[in-house]
């Protein structure tokens, strides 16, 4: 049972992660705030309640894997990893700068805790399937959590992997779709509609759960439910708001891939709060 204390703690952590995203992107002068802010609660729920992981042993073979397939949202992952102790919080300010470990899109073997390179969409879930097939051969029982964007679901490879995971009955796999409704240029449903995504995934053999992706209790319940599913993978369709927490960014395609100015940063931090 998820306690109110847990939710309060996670809510405070989510606030710090949002603040980090805004400040690091402002300092970098570029990056992707919209899809980073929409995924904050998802990563909070995973890293501070669900994942079996150890920041001191990022190579622990039995760790649960979190794979960020929507690699442009890596600021939310860096900020979360910093909160979890994988890297110093101050290092976040080096994002996108020459010589930094914090590359503009996630790159394997740079920052501890980054499981895979990404940035060209559609590839993360296949990688997660491979990890789980190896885990099964070795008798390891780690789980794989993969975060995809909703625009990313337009990529063909995504559907190759959606077809493959139920075939192998990978019940330790959870695909989380950040359903924020906005892609690079415009709204998803006016670009290339992916709905009814729940029915499509169910038809492919997935156990599908739809949640409010900013409601930590709903997220934690869904992730707990996924652990009990046997014989098939779980897809959590997390309805989110792109740019969540910053009024002028929310649901605005213009904030997919640009950094706030110094003044905009002040307004954003004021809205997010301490």
């Amino acid at each position: 049972m998820v306690t109110t204390d847990t939710i309060d703690e996670l809510t405070a952590t989510a606030k710090r992660i949002r603040r980090s995203i805004i400040t690091m992107l402002t300092e970098a002068g570029g990056g992707h705030p919209g899809g980073s802010l929409s995924a904050v609660e998802i990563l909070c729920a995973l890293y501070f309640d669900v994942l079996q992981h150890d920041p001191k042993r990022p190579d622990w073979p039995d760790r649960d894997r979190f794979i960020l397939s929507k690699g442009h949202a890596v600021p939310v992952l860096y900020a979360t990893l910093a909160e979890a102790g994988y890297l110093p919080v101050e290092e976040l300010m080096t994002l996108r700068k020459l010589g930094s470990r914090l590359q503009g899109h996630s790159k394997i073997n740079t920052v501890p805790g980054i499981e895979m390179s990404a940035g060209s969409l559609g590839q993360g879930l296949s990688y997660g399937i491979g990890q789980l097939l190896a885990g099964r051969l070795d008798g390891r029982d780690f789980r794989v959590y993969c975060l995809l964007g909703d625009g990313e679901c337009q990529e063909g490879q995504t559907w190759e992997s959606f077809m493959c995971a139920p075939f192998h009955q990978l019940d330790r796999l959870v695909a989380i779709i950040d359903r924020n409704g906005v892609q690079n240029d415009w709204f998803v449903n006016e670009t290339m509609e992916i709905d009814p995504l729940d029915a499509k995934l169910a038809a492919f053999g997935w156990h599908v759960i739809s949640v409010d992706g900013h409601d930590l209790r709903q997220l934690l319940d869904a992730l707990e439910e996924a652990k009990g599913v046997t014989g098939r993978p779980t897809a959590i369709i997390a309805k989110t708001v792109k740019g969540k927490g910053v009024s002028f960014m929310e649901n605005n395609p213009a904030w997919h891939g640009k950094a706030p100015s110094a003044e905009q940063m002040e307004q954003a931090l004021a809205e997010i709060g301490e």
Partner: protein, 326 residues
């Protein structure tokens, strides 16, 4: 060391059996296949190790991603399909998930070149080496016969990092016996010579040897190098050939403007310019036909190598008599 044998074998025949042998020795080999396992010979591995063989169906992009996941979890991950699909159908996945990660993924592409034959141009890969060689950090090997293919596959399995190995469909002469030792990154000197060098690859290697034998009859002393490792190139052997023989002809079953001819030219042009010729596909696709007929029609022959050798030697001698270069 290089006993010329009348035996015939396809380089693809080395794939499945070599993986079985290595798995029996304890290597954590897994195979990811995209519905061409009978042709690549990967299915032989499935028969022995069904739990370590994964067919993704006709989904090459997924094949690469799954191979990467298996590799990251400690497996020696081989994946295979035809050279027209690997790398062509999954280039971006190879670029981002294999080349940019350095993961331990071994790509084995069979049915390289036009010697695929009757299936025609959609099945004939004459661009694959250009595509895969464009990527930093990927070893690229084109074995010249089945023995070299066995050793190249074993070397790839035992050496960390990404590999691409191109095998072929037709049965071709066996050049090497089991006393041969494939050396990764090193051209193999098959025949010494001081007048000219033929640098050959894959199916063209035995044709280069035939050409050298014919040239010997005419008093031309032709060096033959098997450039089995195409990436990174053995620059030392190329420069030595240029310096010591003064003329080079390359021979490959691939487009010359983006293949070994272009890569060798880059080294020769910048380090030791000498007259060069190139046997290979010239800015066109082939057609359906029996493989021997195709190689004949598109001039991938010992006769064409001989013709070009004479041409570069004439240019070399012309340059000498003009006093412009040595």
């Amino acid at each position: 060391m290089t006993a010329v044998s009348p035996a015939l074998a396809a380089t693809r025949e080395a794939f499945g059996p070599t993986l079985i042998r290595l798995a029996k020795e304890g290597l954590p080999i897994v195979v990811v296949d995209a519905d061409l396992g009978a042709s690549t010979t990967a299915r032989k591995f499935r028969d022995e190790y069904p739990d370590r063989f994964f067919s993704v169906g006709i989904a090459e992009q997924n094949m690469i991603g799954i191979s990467c996941g298996l590799a990251a979890a400690g497996k020696v991950a081989f994946c295979s399909t035809f050279g027209v699909f690997l790398p062509g159908r999954c280039f971006d996945q190879i670029r981002v998930s294999v080349a940019q990660t350095g993961l331990n993924v071994k790509m084995v592409a069979s049915h390289g070149g036009i010697s695929v034959g009757e299936d025609g141009i959609s099945a004939q890969s004459i661009e694959d080496l250009a595509i895969i060689c464009s990527l930093p950090g990927v070893w690229v090997i084109v074995p010249a016969d089945v023995e070299e293919a066995r050793q190249a596959i074993e070397t790839a399995a035992r050496t960390p990092g990404p590999f691409y190995i191109r095998t072929g469909r037709p049965k071709i002469p066996v050049i090497y016996d089991d006393t041969y030792r494939f050396q990764l990154g090193k051209a193999h000197l098959l025949r010494p010579g001081s007048d000219v060098t033929v640098i050959a690859l894959g199916i063209m290697v035995h044709r280069a040897l035939d050409a050298a034998t014919a040239l010997e009859q005419e008093g031309i002393d032709c060096r033959v190098l098997n450039m089995a490792t195409l990436r990174p190139l053995d620059e030392e052997a190329i420069v030595a050939a240029a310096r010591e023989t003064g003329a080079i002809v390359t021979a490959e079953e691939h487009l010359i403007h983006s293949g070994m001819a272009a890569m060798v030219s880059q080294v020769v042009g910048s380090k030791c310019p000498v007259p060069m010729g190139a046997v290979g596909m010239r800015d066109q696709y082939a057609e359906s036909g029996r493989w021997e007929e195709l190689l004949e029609k598109y001039h991938l022959t010992a006769e064409e190598i001989v013709r070009q050798v004479k041409e570069v030697m004439a240019r070399k001698q012309g340059a000498r008599s003009d006093g412009r270069s040595g």
